[in-house]
Subunit: 401 residues, 2 copies
Amino acid sequence: MKSISVLKFGGSSVSTIGKIKNISSYLKNRIENNEKLVVVVSAMGKTTDSLLKQVEEITENPDVRELDSLLAIGEQNTISLMAITLNDIGVKSRSLTGIQAGIKTFGQHTKSKIADINSDYLLKQLEEYDILVIAGFQGFNENLEITTLGRGGSDTSAVGLAASIACPCEIYTDVDAVYGTDPRIYPDAKAIEQISYEEMLELSALGAGVLETRCVEIAKNYNVPLYLGKTLANTKGTWIMSNTDLIEKKVVTGVALDQDILHVTLTCKKCNPDFVQALFDQLDRLSINIDMISQILVNDEISISFTCKNTDKNFLKDALDTLKTSYPSLNHSIRTDCAKVSIVGSGMRDVSGVAARAFRILGSNGIDFYQVTTSEISISYAIDAQKSLDAVRILCEEFNI
Amino acid sequence: MKSISVLKFGGSSVSTIGKIKNISSYLKNRIENNEKLVVVVSAMGKTTDSLLKQVEEITENPDVRELDSLLAIGEQNTISLMAITLNDIGVKSRSLTGIQAGIKTFGQHTKSKIADINSDYLLKQLEEYDILVIAGFQGFNENLEITTLGRGGSDTSAVGLAASIACPCEIYTDVDAVYGTDPRIYPDAKAIEQISYEEMLELSALGAGVLETRCVEIAKNYNVPLYLGKTLANTKGTWIMSNTDLIEKKVVTGVALDQDILHVTLTCKKCNPDFVQALFDQLDRLSINIDMISQILVNDEISISFTCKNTDKNFLKDALDTLKTSYPSLNHSIRTDCAKVSIVGSGMRDVSGVAARAFRILGSNGIDFYQVTTSEISISYAIDAQKSLDAVRILCEEFNI
């Protein structure tokens, strides 16, 4: 039996007929190497923008169901053109819209989620055709309404299709791989050949703009080997896969930096034990996402440290003001100009001393940290923002990123 | 219960957002007058052309299945924009593609025919929505492939939908009505208010470019009252309906002219009786459509007259040459520069003397004819082409067209 793979090409990869032709030639080669392919494509370049411009002429608040139907046209255009191209060069190929591919969704229009995919039908079609070209970003709901999947929707379609067929998924884009850290900060950063789902999720900042966290989560849940690479490039991209499938587990795979954060420490003397609950209720009320939470109880004083986005500064003040009405002894200190630096690696589980090495190298370079938190595969440090780029470089050198 | 109508707007009627807004306002008025509407639209103005231009960049011979999928986008664009507009002005409305509307087709891609429409689903949707905006020209086949309906496809969709719902169908276009004859020939020609299906079929030349014969046939078969009129005009258009529903049956409803024909007379002395069969076999072999067939047998001489398109001249010569090898005594005379003038009217059935009046008026104006044929509701004359415009004018005046 021929192997099946799902391949996804983004909007800039299919923005012209010329590019569609080049990709089609590449796909033909793969078919001639005894493969069957499911190809997911996005709308060509600026198609979505021009559809939205039509809507702007009508209203600022379009009906979201109809907006979804309209935007689905973009991908439908690409699949037909690619299937025409493939058939023209002798590849048996068929295009499928979201409805035709049986991509059932649930949830709200413009940000629906995949509920189910009719993989039996797709496998049957793959008996007849060598390539199925499927419209990304779209599906349909129980009312037979066309839906779209929101940000990163085409990637989600691709990973969802791979999950339902139980085959690997290759995502082709402008970026040639996931790097161990942002190459703009550390130009010597190497492309990662293999990384586990968990590491990729911890390093989500590194994939930001390239691969939505949501896709990695689906791939992880259905154990879909996920490749990220540059369209029609000879360079090697990154395979994201189960930890147990990794050939070599690096101790530290990547270093991530989150620059725009606040570091908050609260102390509350003789507070009721319900204080912590009250704090989280307030944060929840104001939708403040917090990270790096540490709590210590010394004698009758509760101390809590955490970080949050700088953009939540005003919400945070609101939360603390509200809390002080119930807990007058509450004190707080907020550090702005903070950064979070994280080192991530599956190998940490098995190798001791990573934390010690990191502490030592940061200390010997005069980089203090206010807080440390650890997970099984990561260590995060809250440090001064102005020292954060140095910290990333030092850690990358130390752990050969 | 509210009355339901199907309305169809052609490509030039929806070529801009402005026009879509104007039509939407008109539809809102109708809804406020207690109607439910199914609105069928074509692709906006030049959309189809620009889609075909994309294909030209790829190949001269696109896969027809994929071409159908591609062209279906045009109508899909219009339905979403119109549904967005309608919802924006407070009309509960939903767009439906051919698949969503359950328009099942059979036959070849690019010229499929409607097999079945899921009217139960549409009626259910009309309980929830006041207007369903349905993509014309498209459907789907048993393989869940998107199909298109060929020439006059959107009109066919509209009449098919009206047939399945059992409601009237209004077709809006650039032309304000069906006229009793071509106003370019007889400027005083009046718009016809009511005409029977049979008359319309006999006068198909008058509707040429406005309404495909196929649509009239479907309307006739399912007894769908069919309106033809100008988009958003105050002028009255033409209702095409069952003969029994006509309020006033005019003796002569219209005068049609077919200018570009040949008039052929064959005589064959002592021919075998199988000669006529052999003639029709030859005409069939060369796909020559003939009209106004008369056959006479005098003693042992068979005479046949008929007309055919001027463009079939060479095929006709081929057919006659072939026949002469088997029937050496065959003689033929071919008149070029011929025209067929027809007078059509349901009232002829009940009123005698129409033929006599026509013969008299033509004769008194020095217009000779080579042949006359009649059906229950029409009389056709083969005459000299250069006298044909005069003949039309004289007949229009005589019968008050």
